[in-house]
Amino acid sequence: MSKQDVFIVDGSRTPFLKARGKPGPFLASDLAVAAARPLLLRQNFPLDALDEVIVGCIMPSADEANIARVIALRLGIPQTVPAWTVQRNCASGMQALDSAYHNISAGHADLILAGGTESMSRAPVLYNDLMVNWLSMLMSAKTFGQKLQVFTKLRPAHLKPVIALVRGLTDPIVGLSMGQTTEKIAYRFGITRDQMDEFSVTSHKRLAEAHDSGRLEEIEAIYDGRGNYYDFDDGIRRDSSMPNLARLKPYFDRTYGMVTPGNSAQITDGAAMLILASAKMVKKYDLPVLAKIKDSQWAGLDPAEMGLGPAHAMAPILKRNKLTINDIDYWEINEAFAGQVLGCIEAWQRDDYCKEHLGFKTAIGEIPHEKLNIDGGSVSMGHPVGASGARIVLHLANVLKHKNAHRGIASLCIGGGQGGAMMIERAGEQ
């Protein structure tokens, strides 16, 4: 169905840096610039060969309007190359890749820098409406007496801030926090706290093993100018174990719930940037090819069960391409919550769910645990919301390369009740 083949040429990401309760050292644009600079330096094409720059980001800072353009210009990409920002919540990074994929596929572009970035630690803290109204009264007060009068109206309630990050992670339609939507999925499919914690321990173990093996070459160290550098995902817990995780209290549904900070993705800063190209550009500049993008899919579902998004987005790709689970060598399903990934796996094994919601006659089958997120995921490395969608596609491509495998699917759930998925292939074993 695509008119032009679309190739992933190369990609880099920053280490994912856990938010430590205060603004982190990097703005979202700093992160994307740090990931993309070495990436671009590795390439053989001049920067003006780029047709556009597309970046996903949910909450840029006040000085980063259309952050993609800010990033492009800071990278020294010529002013004549346009840039635009995309936002599809947790899938913004994948949306950037998908937009690039479609533009190249349709022949509108041949070479695109695309990816995602997020500095969650720097998410804005806002004045509430009371305070904004009070400030406006103060501005319009002319005389000293009037101003004094306005000052007497200031109350403690005015000072309660609006924390954009908390609001952003709460569904505005159904009123549930993202963690609560996972509690709902666990309830529906009978997923236990132990299952969630076990999944999380594995995530940490796998990420630690991947780091130690040195195969995470996609990570570019980032420097803060204060004498520090960061070269690994610092949210990793090498001491993660069932007893350790069991000690944590449920965070979203307090007291009786199962979803804890330990089996959820961490609040994190990071960026992942990729270069996508048409066959024409691959040939012209003799570019390396990491993988080919074969297909992509977006899906909508009940916002209260948004975590099942991947089950809904991946199913049509299998169906359309007449593939079964066995045809997929490796899977990356973003670990927003351990319970939500487990829910997706469970849903695909239920005849009734697959029939009612996914248009299959019977269950699709079981995604093998040893082929899923084999180098860990967001539970262990964190989930910089705008960046993760780009990271899982980049990492999947690298997994296929290291394993000399052929086909993989990357997918994630999206706050608001959506799912996104992308299938890639490389010329590995068939």
């Binding site: 610039v33 600079r37 070495p38 330096l41 590795r42 800071r74 990278l75 020294g76 160290a221 420097y223 803060d224 100018g225 204060r226 004498g227 520090n228 550098y229 070269d231």
Partner: protein, 676 residues
């Protein structure tokens, strides 16, 4: 009437725009011809007075760079100087007393005489772009403002700010000049003409001096402030070597109550300075600097990407400096912790340079890419290697990077001790290797030695010289021989100083003797600052070819890890980055110490001339002044030899030879110097 240098344009509002475009010159300077024409123009305008006049430059590079320094060199007597200055004063007074408004519209450099002209106008409007700077840098030439600038700047900016600007001679950004009240408004280029017109039409009342400035200017307060100024100046420029700042301070202290009188006294003061050897030598230094600037032609090389290998202090600072000058830079080191340090020092450098200009700081940081994998190698037009001094390691590196390099890319080494010819043997194309030798600290040292190896291509050499100009340094072409020019000349002088300490003379006295001669820092303090291990390794390399003995004292200090500033103790103890000096140290015959050090310095300079390490006497003087800080008011070592008399100094060498040994044996070139 048509003029050679000026163009008069009258507009519908009866404003007269005086365009200056000095004939046969790339820069506007106030030469005699320019001033004579201006005098005529002013006389003419007095006949039919316009609503106002605006001074404009038609040169792209600036408003007016100053007086014509060439003319300055022809002045030999005080009377000539007085006449020269009086003519300038008459014209500035004429502008000031015009019955109509006058405005200086400043874009680009506005310095010295140019600034004095601007100050004589009723108003000054200044462009806010980065290349526009104003200043009164006369002090750097051993004089002070002489076209009324000392008086008028104080009247506009107050004594503290104006004297500070004149005593340091620094260039002022628009922001600073505006806050000092030296200019009346600071506007973007698009509003510059409209602003000039606004001032002519509206004649706003200029900002008066504040109460504080009026107090500082008071007859009874001035002596206190003046003494404070003298103390501050003395730290940098002792009176016996640099009279100008002291005369400027006295001029203000004595005559501020009567500006008319102060203007007259300004002429007297500058006239006495112009003929003083200090001023003449500093003018010589100015021309030496211009000479170095012409060694590289920017158009010979258009690099975009610089790759620096080595994230130590030297490599990191070179990389940061290149990024600051606008290049895309990768700085490579295997160790990310080294690069983390590099990025920290770079940020500090950028913050110092750009102050509150956060966007420029970020741009420079974005241009500087830390690189652990060497991704910058194949992008680079120039690779600068600045790793530690080990021939084998360097050669292994060169062999691995040469195949990745772009066609035509230059490989440069920052080595100070390994001959280029030896390094080049491992290269397929030895012609692409050149030396680019920086000095520490990179951001402050103006000189770079561009080292021509036996194999270095002429084109590569010229490109390296051009690069020196691109990064706003002074490039000195030198032959590849041990120590090149600067280190080689410094070393005998440093070792003689160490020798004297070994003889039991207090280091404080050794340093004092050198300061008496006019060195910027004593040699013992310098050795401690550079690091005794570094000194020893340079000296060891030089001693192979030269008549150098390593003082035992240095050896033992290095063995005991007394390395100087960095280890906390060398010849001095170092506390908080400052040497602790014994105030009670004394020595009877400081002149003898001075002679021993300086004569070895001069003798080595003569040897470099004989061996053609550098092509000409002037280039040796230039390299030594900008590379070592050699007393600038003495005009350079070879100039000094001629000024003192070759015979006198070579006799002194013979005496020292008899007293202290053959290291004082006069170099053969001294005989030929006499005839030169």
């Amino acid at each position: 009437m048509a003029y050679q240098n000026w163009m008069i344009e009258k507009d519908d509002d009866d404003i007269c725009w005086l365009h200056l475009d000095v004939a046969d010159s790339s820069t506007n300077v106030l030469s005699s011809a320019v001033l004579d024409e201006l005098n005529q123009i002013l006389n003419e305008l007095a006949q039919s007075l316009p609503k106002g006049i605006v001074f404009v430059s038609d040169k792209n590079n600036g408003f007016i760079a100053g007086a014509d320094i060439n003319e300055f060199t022809h002045i030999t007597t005080e009377q000539q100087a007085t006449d020269f200055l009086q003519r300038g004063h008459d014209i500035m007074n004429k502008i000031e007393s015009l019955p109509c408004v006058s405005v200086a519209m400043i874009k680009g450099f506005c310095l010295g005489g140019g600034m004095e002209l601007a100050l004589a106008c009723s108003y000054r409007v200044m462009c806010d772009d980065k290349s526009t700077r104003v200043g009164l840098p006369e002090i750097k030439l051993g004089i002070h403002p002489g076209y009324g600038g000392s008086v008028r700047s104080i009247l506009k900016a107050g004594p503290v700010a104006a004297m500070n600007a004149m005593l340091t001679g620094r260039m002022l950004t628009g922001r600073v000049a505006k806050s000092m009240n030296l200019v009346d408004d600071l506007v973007p280029e698009r509003q510059l003409k409209r602003a000039a017109r606004y001032f002519v039409i509206n004649k706003p009342i200029p900002r008066p001096l504040g109460i504080k400035d009026k107090i500082m200017n008071h007859r009874l307060v001035r002596p206190l402030i003046a003494n404070q100024m003298r103390k501050t100046v003395a730290k940098k420029a002792p009176q016996q070597h640099y009279p100008a700042p002291y005369q400027l301070i006295s001029l203000w202290q004595k005559h501020m109550d009567n500006p008319r009188r102060m203007l007259e006294k300004e002429i007297e003061s500058v006239a006495s300075l112009v003929t003083n050897p200090t001023a003449q030598n500093l003018v010589r230094v100015f021309f030496l600097m211009e000479n170095l600037k012409t060694q590289g032609r920017k158009k010979d090389f258009d690099p975009r990407h610089i790759h620096v290998i080595g994230g130590g202090v030297m490599g990191g600072d070179i990389a940061a400096w290149c990024a600051l000058r606008g290049f895309n830079v990768t700085v490579q080191d295997q160790k990310p912790e080294m690069l983390a340090g590099t990025m920290q020092r770079s940020l500090t450098m950028f913050q110092k340079k750009f102050k509150k200009d956060k966007r420029s700081i970020r741009e420079s940081m974005d241009r500087l890419v830390p690189d652990t994998k060497g991704v910058g190698i194949k992008q680079a037009d120039l690779i600068i290697e600045a790793i530690f001094e080990d021939k084998n390691v360097k050669q292994t590196l060169y062999k691995s990077i040469e195949p990745q390099m772009k066609e035509g890319a230059i490989l440069a080494t920052n080595t100070s001790s390994i001959p280029l010819e030896e390094l080049a043997t491992c290269l397929k194309d030895p012609g692409r290797l050149v030396g680019i030798h920086f000095f520490n600290p990179v951001a402050l040292m103006p000189l770079v030695e561009i080292v021509r190896g036996e194999n270095t291509d002429e084109k590569i050499m010229n490109q390296a010289l051009a690069f020196g100009r691109h990064i706003d340094k002074l490039p000195l072409p030198v032959k590849s021989s041990p120590g090149f020019l600067v280190n080689r000349i410094l070393m005998p002088y440093l070792l003689e100083a160490v020798e004297m300490v070994g003889e039991g003379i207090a280091p404080e006295m050794v340093d004092k003797a050198a300061l008496n001669f006019g060195m910027p820092m004593g040699p013992i303090e310098l050795a401690d600052t550079v690091g005794l291990d570094v000194c020893r390794s340079v000296a060891t390399i030089l001693s192979k070819d030269q008549n150098l003995n390593l003082p035992k004292r240095m050896e033992s200090m290095v063995e005991h890890k007394k390395l100087g500033k960095k280890s906390g103790e060398g010849f001095y103890k170092w506390v908080k980055g400052k040497p602790v000096k014994d105030k009670n140290a004394s020595y009877a015959n400081l002149k003898e110490l001075e002679d021993r050090m300086i004569m070895r310095f001069l003798n080595e300079a003569a040897a470099c001339l004989r061996e053609k390490v550098v092509a000409t006497e002037d280039l040796i003087d230039a390299g030594v002044i900008f590379g070592t800080g050699f007393a600038p008011f003495r005009g350079g070592p070879l100039h000094y030899i001629h000024a003192q008399g070759v015979a006198t100094l070579s006799n002194r060498l013979d005496e020292l030879n008899k007293l202290y040994g053959t290291r004082f044996k006069a170099n053969e070139v001294w005989d030929s110097l006499g005839s030169g």
